[in-house]
Symmetry: C2
Subunit: 402 residues, 2 copies
C-alpha cells in the first residue's frame, strides 16, 4: 500500500502541483501572522499567540553562501483561524534544504525571471521551501488539527498556508518515515525519476554517469539506473561518499572528482566507461559536463538537473564541445520536475515498491533546529551533505508543547 | 511531378543513404584509376586514358584555410570498365563545397572518430564530396552512359564510383536545374528541412532565429519557417546579405552580426525578438548561440546544425548559460541529416512544390573550374558565399569533349 493520498487541498492535480503554486503561496504567506492591535485583543487570542521564528537572508548573496548571510527573525502569529478564512496553520517538523534556493538569494539571476518558484527572495522576508508538519489550526474542511501534511511551507517554525497554495495530507498509518515525503517520495525523488525516465529515456544496458551522485537527486538516479539494468558510475567529492555509492547503493563504480586532475581522461573509455557514456545526469555543470560530453556515445543524452558549481561562480559555465554535440547527435536538455507530473503516480508506485523490497535506499542528512538552517544550506555548497539535506525543526510533539 | 527517382543504385533506402555510405565509397575510390603496365596496354586502352585532375590538401590544416593549403594533382584514369566490374565512372559537373570538410582536414578533431563521413582526410589523397555529373562508362546495368547522376563524387574531374557507394539518376526531363540536387533538393535542403521540422518541431506563430542565414542551409530554414507561419529573423555577415534576406527571401527581419557589439542585447525582447526566441537554428555556435539561449522562451529548442566559428578556432566554444537551460527547460540538440531519411520523401515533395509555386527560392553561389575549389572552400570561412556554394567543373558537354 502506498501511503500517499492524492489529491488533496486545494488542487485536484496531484500534490506536486504545489511546486507550480509556490508563487501563489508565497504571495499569500508573505505576511506571517494576523494580529490585531494589542489593546483590543482578548485574553484568549493572546493565549494563542506565538513568536514565530523564521530564517531570512540579511542581504542578497554573491558567491558562496555562509551562515553569516542569514539571520533569524520572528513575528507574532496567532494560532487561530479567523472566521471565514480557509487558511491552514502548520507547525513545521521538517524543511527541505535545496541548492537551487541560492539562485533566489542573488540580487540578479536569469533564473529568477523564468519560473514562479525561482523568483528573487528579499532580505528580511520569509523563505518558502518544501516541508512537512502537523496542522495546528485549520479553516479548511479538508484538513483537521493534528493531521500530518507536506507541501510548500518555509524555513520557519509555523507556516500559514493560504488557499491557492498546496498542501497534502500524509496517512498517519504511513509505512514510511515522514521525511521520505520530502526526499525519496517527494520533489527530489520525482526530479530523479522524471529526469532519468522522461528526459534520459534509458535503455537496458546503457551506460549512465551521475554527478553529485551522493546528493539528494543523484543517489536516487543511480539506483533507478541500476534497477533499469544500466551500468552506473557516479562521481562525488569524498572517499566516504565514493565508498557509500559502491558499497551501499550498488553503483558499478564511483570516483572522487577532487582526486582527478583530468576529468576527460578519467572518463575515458579505458577507465570508468570502457564503452562510452550514453546518459549523463548533470547535477554540477562546468568541466564535469564537458568531460561527459567528450566521452559520450552517439545519440547520448544529457539531462541538466542542476549546475551547482555555477550557482556560486558564474564563471564556471560549461562549454561542451559543439562538434561532439553535432557529430554524436547529443541532446542536452534542461528540465524541472514539475513539468512531469503526468508520471507522478508511476513514480510513487514504483519508488514505494523499490523501497519496500529493499531495492532502493534513501540517504538522508538531517540537522536539527531552525538555527541550523543557515549552516545546513551553506554546507550544500561545500559538499557537506550526504544525501537529501533536511532540517528537523521539532520533534513530533506539537500537542504537548502547546 | 517530382524529378527525383528513388531508389536507385545500389541502396534500396533512398538516395541520401549515400551520406552514410561515404566511408565505403572512399575506401572503394581511393585508388583513382585502374591502369596496366604501359608496355602491355593496347592502343584502344591508351586512347581511353585521361589525366584525372583532383584537388587535395598539401598538409593537415590548422585554423583558417587558404588556397595555399591545397594543390592539384592528377592520376591516369582509363575511362573504361574492366570486364566483370560494376564500377561507374562519372564525369563531374558540379561539386559541393561545404564547411564541415574543414574538420576532416585537421590533423585531429573529435568529429573524425564519430561518423564515417567525417573521418580524417590525408594530404595527397582525393577528397570525396557530394556532386553531380554524367556517366562516362558503367559496369552496372542500372546506369547507362550519358545519364545524369548525383551522389558522393569528389573534388576531381572524374570519379570512379564503386559498388557499395551511392549514386542516383536524375531524370533528364527534370524541371529543376541540376545544381538544385546538390543544394535545395539535396543534402543542404534535407539538412534544413530535417533540422527545422524533425528537430525544432515548430508551431505556427513561434519565433525563429537563424544564424548564417544566407548560408546553404540557413536561407532555406528561414524560408521553411515562413512557410510554417513562424516569425523569422536571420543574422548574416554583410549588408548585402541582410537586404537579400529581408527583401528577396521574406525574412521578417535580419541583421549584420558584425555591426552588433552586444549580441545578447541585439536579440533582446525589445529589438529583434519582442516576444523572445522559441527556436534557434544554429549554424555558427559560440557567442551567437549564447545570446540566443539567453533570449529564449520556456521550452525553447536549439538545433545545432553547424558551428562554423569553432571549426577554425577551437577556442570559440559556446558556453550557453546552463541556468537558462534548466529553468527555461531548453533543449540543445545536435543532428545530422542522414539520421532523418524517413522524411526524405516528404522533404522532396514539399520542397519541390514550394519551388514550383515560387514560395521558396534557392540561393546558389557558383564558381567555375576545378582550380577554383580551394578558393571557394577557403571563402566559406570568410563568409564570401551567398547561399549554397558550388563549383561547376565542366559545362555539360562531356560527349563532345571526349
Amino acid at each position: 500500500m502506498v501511503s500517499v493520498e492524492l489529491p488533496s487541498f486545494p488542487s485536484k492535480q496531484g500534490y506536486l502541483a504545489c511546486l507550480s503554486a509556490i508563487l501563489i503561496l508565497s504571495i499569500c504567506t508573505c505576511s506571517l501572522c494576523f494580529t490585531r492591535p494589542e489593546g483590543r485583543k482578548c485574553r484568549k487570542l493572546r493565549s494563542m499567540e506565538v513568536e514565530n521564528k523564521y530564517v531570512t537572508i540579511k542581504h542578497h548573496i554573491h558567491g558562496l553562501p555562509s551562515s553569516l548571510d542569514f539571520e533569524s527573525r520572528s513575528a507574532t502569529l496567532t494560532l487561530m483561524i479567523p472566521p471565514g478564512s480557509e487558511d491552514v496553520i502548520v507547525k513545521n517538523l521538517f524543511v527541505s534544504i535545496d541548492p537551487y534556493q541560492i539562485n533566489r538569494m542573488k540580487v540578479c539571476s536569469s533564473s529568477q525571471k523564468t519560473v514562479d518558484f525561482a523568483r528573487r527572495l528579499h532580505p528580511g522576508h520569509r523563505i518558502d521551501a518544501f516541508g512537512a508538519g502537523r496542522v495546528v489550526a485549520s479553516g479548511n474542511a479538508e484538513f483537521k488539527k493534528d493531521e500530518l501534511v507536506v507541501g510548500v511551507l518555509g524555513w520557519e517554525e509555523y507556516t500559514v498556508v493560504r488557499p491557492g497554495s498546496m498542501l497534502r495530507k500524509i496517512d498517519s498509518n504511513m509505512d514510511f518515515p515522514l521525511s521520505y515525503h520530502l526526499g525519496i517520495l517527494g520533489p527530489s525523488g520525482l526530479t530523479a525519476y522524471a529526469g532519468f525516465y522522461d528526459v534520459c529515456k534509458p535503455k537496458e544496458g546503457e551506460k549512465v554517469f551521475v554527478s553529485a551522485a551522493c546528493g539528494s537527486v543523484g543517489h536516487l538516479v543511480g539506483q533507478f539506473g541500476k534497477q533499469s539494468g544500466c551500468y552506473v558510475v557516479g562521481c562525488a567529492g569524498s572517499k566516504k561518499k565514493v565508498e557509500l555509492l559502491k558499497e551501499k547503493l550498488g553503483f558499478d563504480d564511483a570516483f572522487n572528482y577532487k582526486e582527478e586532475t583530468d576529468l576527460k581522461s578519467a572518463l575515458k573509455r579505458y577507465r570508468y566507461f570502457p564503452d562510452g557514456i550514453d546518459i549523463y545526469f548533470d547535477n554540477v555543470g562546468a568541466e564535469v559536463q564537458e568531460a561527459a560530453v567528450a566521452n559520450m556515445n552517439a545519440f547520448g543524452r544529457v539531462a541538466v538537473c542542476g549546475v551547482i558549481s555555477q550557482y556560486t561562480d558564474a564563471g564556471k559555465q560549461a562549454a561542451p564541445n559543439m562538434l561532439d554535440i553535432i557529430y554524436k547527435r547529443i541532446t542536452i536538455r534542461g528540465f524541472l520536475a514539475y513539468d512531469h507530473l503526468s508520471i507522478y503516480d508511476d513514480f510513487v508506485s514504483a519508488t514505494s515498491d523499490h523501497i519496500r523490497h529493499g531495492r532502493i535506499q534513501s540517504l538522508e542528512d538531517v540537522s536539527h533546529g531552525l538555527e541550523s538552517v543557515p549552516s545546513a544550506f551553506a554546507g550544500l555548497f561545500r559538499g557537506d551533505n550526504v544525501g537529501k539535506k533536511l532540517v528537523q525543526l521539532a520533534a513530533d510533539n506539537i500537542n504537548s508543547r502547546r
